[in-house]
């Protein structure tokens, strides 16, 4: 992903880049090698944004403060918009199902599978 493109996709979320987003992005980038080259960075960023959102919001743990929750919401929304333009229908659905699984587990007070495992699986959906 070009620097300009990445900048645009990180608008208002720049502070998160050094707070775990870049690390998550690189991990997912390694995992999307089977995808079309043009979409790899976007898919990796979408997955990283979901992972950071879940952490920021405190899903399954202690509730985030309102401003942090809203930042998490924006990460989820940004991810959703990126997926709408870059992912196949199957991957979009798989991402949504992964978030549903994590939030349902949080609401039920049971442990959810690791976020990264779920999202890596979602990226492979066909």
């Amino acid at each position: 992903m070009s620097v300009q493109l990445l900048d645009r996709e990180l608008d208002r979320l720049e502070s998160l880049w050094e707070d775990g987003l870049s690390e998550a992005y690189r991990s997912y980038l390694d995992a999307v090698g089977a995808q079309a080259p043009a979409t790899r960075p976007r898919l990796a960023l979408a997955a990283a944004l979901v992972e950071v959102a879940i952490r920021l919001q405190g899903l399954g743990g202690r509730a985030a403060s309102p401003p942090t929750l809203l930042m998490g919401d924006l990460c989820l929304a940004r991810s959703s918009r990126i997926l709408a333009g870059a992912a196949t229908q199957a991957v979009q659905i798989a991402f949504a199902l992964a978030i549903e699984e994590m939030s349902a587990a949080a609401a039920s007070g049971v442990a959810a599978p690791a976020t990264r495992d779920l999202l890596l699986r979602a990226l492979e959906a066909t």
Binding site: G58, S80, R81, Q92, F95, A96, A98, S103
Partner: protein, 471 residues
């Protein structure tokens, strides 16, 4: 939930049919102890009303309807030469349709201790406007039932039949909530069933009828997803705003804690995006995703602006266009996209939805100052939420200085009450009303340049209804 039909024949052109006893009978027959009775007219010339059954008063009502919409006053609906697909037995009844606009087409009545909760002088009427005719009302009972009377009613078959013919979006909403895990579905069901205007799904359904492709089931799926998305944002909003009640019920955050509220909001955010992805229309998916991003960004701005409360007109518009209008615009555009409408129509409807959404929010701001709205007065002031009447009043030379001084301090009941009085005494509410009306006019203007296959009057009426609640 029990659903059924009430059928009856009317005898006169205009007639107030007292159905109170019929409804009481249905409540008893179903064995309902506590809950709500939902009633909906299945006709466009049959209204509903709750009022006193006093013969002279009923004549007053009839006379009023005649004054507002006289028979044969040159209604365009009655000009059969200009209409298409006119049935052979089509009646001349423009007046009856117009009169129906003055009445409700649906009602919710409370049931307690096995009986309707009605005041001493209150009766429930089905109002015939184009009789005599055979009429039907859809009725649903939702609440707690005592098992024995219901078992003896023998009405379960009718209930199933009524459910089948209920509104597709409501059915789809119920169906979706039914398959979700209980810890997330229960709070969402409480919120959804508590009411809400369902404006956004309505916009989806209307605009999805505009293009050449008409698929009611996919439309219902999209409308349902949009409504779920809206409610998911409300659940997070209520936590952020520390709201204790919404639609007369405790918020999810207040009732079950912020952790649950965050999880429920996330679940339905994800579910809604999945339902939209499953529709398989990339344009629709992008439209809704962009709106969702705008909503979330505006929420952040909204909270940030509370430091500069009450804010200014420019900031207000920026936040409202994202927070409220974005989903209105997306509902309109996505419905049209689903129906394969042309890009010109999609964009015109997007602009219509945007203008309507801002007007709607302004009207909502004004309701905050209306003691008759049924909502707590001045909640926006108490919660330091952006409000255009407050912004205008704070700019007012006479009341502005005192408002700004009060807002700079802590806001107890006395201060909130005083600020509300000052706003009401200024011309702020009139200015907001005029601005909202101008936006509605602009929204209607957007519809003038496009072919809407007969839907223009409905969209115009819906736009006006956004501000009519403050007239």
């Amino acid at each position: 939930m029990v659903g059924q039909r009430l059928r009856f024949d009317t005898k006169h052109a205009t007639e107030f049919v007292d159905i109170t006893d019929l409804l009481r009978q249905e409540v008893r027959r179903a064995g309902m102890r506590m809950g709500r009775l939902h009633l909906q007219s299945l006709h466009t010339t049959l209204g509903l009303a709750v009022n006193e059954n006093e013969p002279l008063l009923l004549r007053d009502f009839g006379n009023m309807l005649e004054r507002f919409a006289p028979v044969g006053a040159g209604y365009e609906h009655d000009d059969f030469a200009r209409r298409i697909n006119v049935a052979l037995d089509e009646p001349v009844n423009g007046h009856a349709h117009v009169r129906q606009l003055l009445l409700a087409g649906f009602a919710t009545l409370l049931v307690e201790e096995g009986d309707l909760v009605l005041g001493r002088w209150q009766s429930v009427f089905a109002v015939e406007l184009d009789g005599p005719r055979h009429r039907e009302l859809a009725l649903q009972l939702d609440g707690d039932f005592s098992p024995l009377p219901r078992a003896s009613a023998g009405g379960s078959g009718r209930g199933r039949s009524a459910a089948l013919s209920s509104d597709l979006v409501e059915l789809e909403l119920s169906r979706q909530l039914l398959v979700d895990p209980e810890p997330v579905s229960t709070p969402m069901r409480r919120l959804v069933e508590a009411g809400g205007k369902r404006l956004r799904p309505k916009l989806v359904q209307l605009t999805a009828a505009i293009g050449p492709r008409n698929e009611p089931l996919r439309t219902a799926a999209l409308a349902t997803a949009v409504e779920l998305l809206h409610n998911a944002t409300l659940i997070h909003d209520d936590y952020v705003d520390e709201s204790t009640h919404r639609r007369g019920r405790p918020t999810v955050a207040a009732a079950e804690g912020p952790e649950r509220a965050i999880a429920v909001g996330d679940y339905y955010f994800a579910k809604a995006t999945r339902l939209i992805a499953e529709i398989g229309n990339p344009e629709v998916t992008s439209t809704i995703a962009e709106a969702l991003e705008a909503i979330c960004a505006s929420q952040i701005d909204d909270v940030a602006l509370r430091g500069a409360f009450p804010g200014d007109h420019e900031s207000y518009l920026r936040v409202v266009r994202g927070k409220t209008a974005a989903l209105f615009a997306a509902a309109c555009a996505s419905g049209a996209q689903l129906s394969d409408a042309s890009p010109e129509i999609v964009e015109a409807l997007r602009r219509y939805g945007d203008l309507l959404g801002v007007a709607f929010q302004m009207a909502d701001d004004m309701v905050d100052f209306s003691p008759s709205s049924g909502k707590p007065v001045a909640l926006d002031i108490r919660q330091r939420v952006l409000s255009l009447p407050l912004i205008y009043a704070a700019e007012d030379r006479t009341v502005g200085p005192e408002i700004r001084r009060l807002l700079a301090g802590s806001l107890g009941d006395a201060e909130v009450g005083r600020v509300a009085d000052l706003v009401t005494s200024s011309d702020a509410l009139q200015r907001v009303r005029a601005e909202a009306q101008a936006l509605v006019d602009a929204a209607v203007h957007e519809l003038e340049t496009i072919e809407l296959d007969g839907l223009r009057p409905t969209l115009i009426s819906l736009a006006h209804s956004a501000v009519d609640r403050i007239s």
